[in-house]
Symmetry: C2
Subunit: 233 residues, 2 copies
Amino acid sequence: MASIDVCLSPNLLPLYNLEGKLVIVVDILRATSCMVTAIAHGIDHIIPFDNLEDCAALKTEGYLTAAERDGQQVEGFDFGNSPFTYMGPELKGKNLAVTTTNGTACIKQSEGAKEIGIGSFLNLRAVAAYIRTTKSDVVIACSALKGKPNAEDTLFAGALIELLPELLPESDNCLLAQTLWVAAKENPTAFINLTTHVQRLQKLGIVDDIAFCMQPDIYPIMLLMQEGKIRKA
Amino acid sequence: MASIDVCLSPNLLPLYNLEGKLVIVVDILRATSCMVTAIAHGIDHIIPFDNLEDCAALKTEGYLTAAERDGQQVEGFDFGNSPFTYMGPELKGKNLAVTTTNGTACIKQSEGAKEIGIGSFLNLRAVAAYIRTTKSDVVIACSALKGKPNAEDTLFAGALIELLPELLPESDNCLLAQTLWVAAKENPTAFINLTTHVQRLQKLGIVDDIAFCMQPDIYPIMLLMQEGKIRKA
């Protein structure tokens, strides 16, 4: 019987043995939601970076570049971290280099895993379906907010676990995530509107992004990272 | 307006600025529950250690010694980590040196704080009352299970926050803890019986301890650490 576990912060990932496992990285607001949106709209592959310099350098290789720090787009990059900017027909067949405050750092820290998948509400059931086809143990790696666990990634973990009752919960973090999800699932957007993280984004004028990122199953695609590149599985 | 925050794991404590703050360390199963019980039954003060050697050395200074690793008493020490062993009349006026897997390590990691208090369900309202008398910002430091957040410490955090609506929640971890508490508070013991941590303790024959430690307000005392010694405030 395969197992499932949740890691609430990338700072706790060193406590988890990722060897041989499938890690699902999640950063609902907004890195992984943007990745799913971009690839659903025709981006071929995405390379995640944990720093601005390496990410910017990919411009010379013809990549579109995206960078977000503290909720806002960084000057000199083509994109920030809003899913609505990743919907244009001009994306088709292009590649994207991305760095964000939390999500891409979490991907880099998951690199000891056998496989890395990208999770968001936008592709929730596609992620669950992919997990069902593998025999791997799974760790859901929440990107958190500068290391502190956050509500929206934890909710996603609870939602995903609910879809996979056949997997054995590995630690009490599964119960924490599931309980949170059960408490919030009638209206997850209302729930996360209570959070300081969302209130901070709203102060930056980021409102539509939040409602968009909380929608389940808009894009029925699974993304995997292979040799440093994230693409459709 | 003073603030309150929750740190779900000692491994995340470096992300919190503890300077000038009151940290409430909690290890419901069972270190902080035992400390409250022992002092309620007449122990004068407790010195926490993060290693067995330093703890054992206090024997030569007339201290009773207690050590727990992986749920069980360590050979050569007077006590393990069961609250029922801290209720005898022979404890009166004695001092205790303690080391446990999670709780005492969390206390050591909180030493940058202005004040360190000891929290458990057994003295829940006394902790809330003490917090109300201070003007300090508060961080509830959960001892977790070998670094991974656990249900019972998180529940305690939620219960304590519920008693202090006048404090400003500092991060979304307050919302996580409160939501968990609201979901579980009708029967917190039934809730934590679902956890792997409790199931592991039950396999070790530790059943009564768990029910005991989940009882609110058995001992209306506040404990503070001063100059390395924990005693009644």
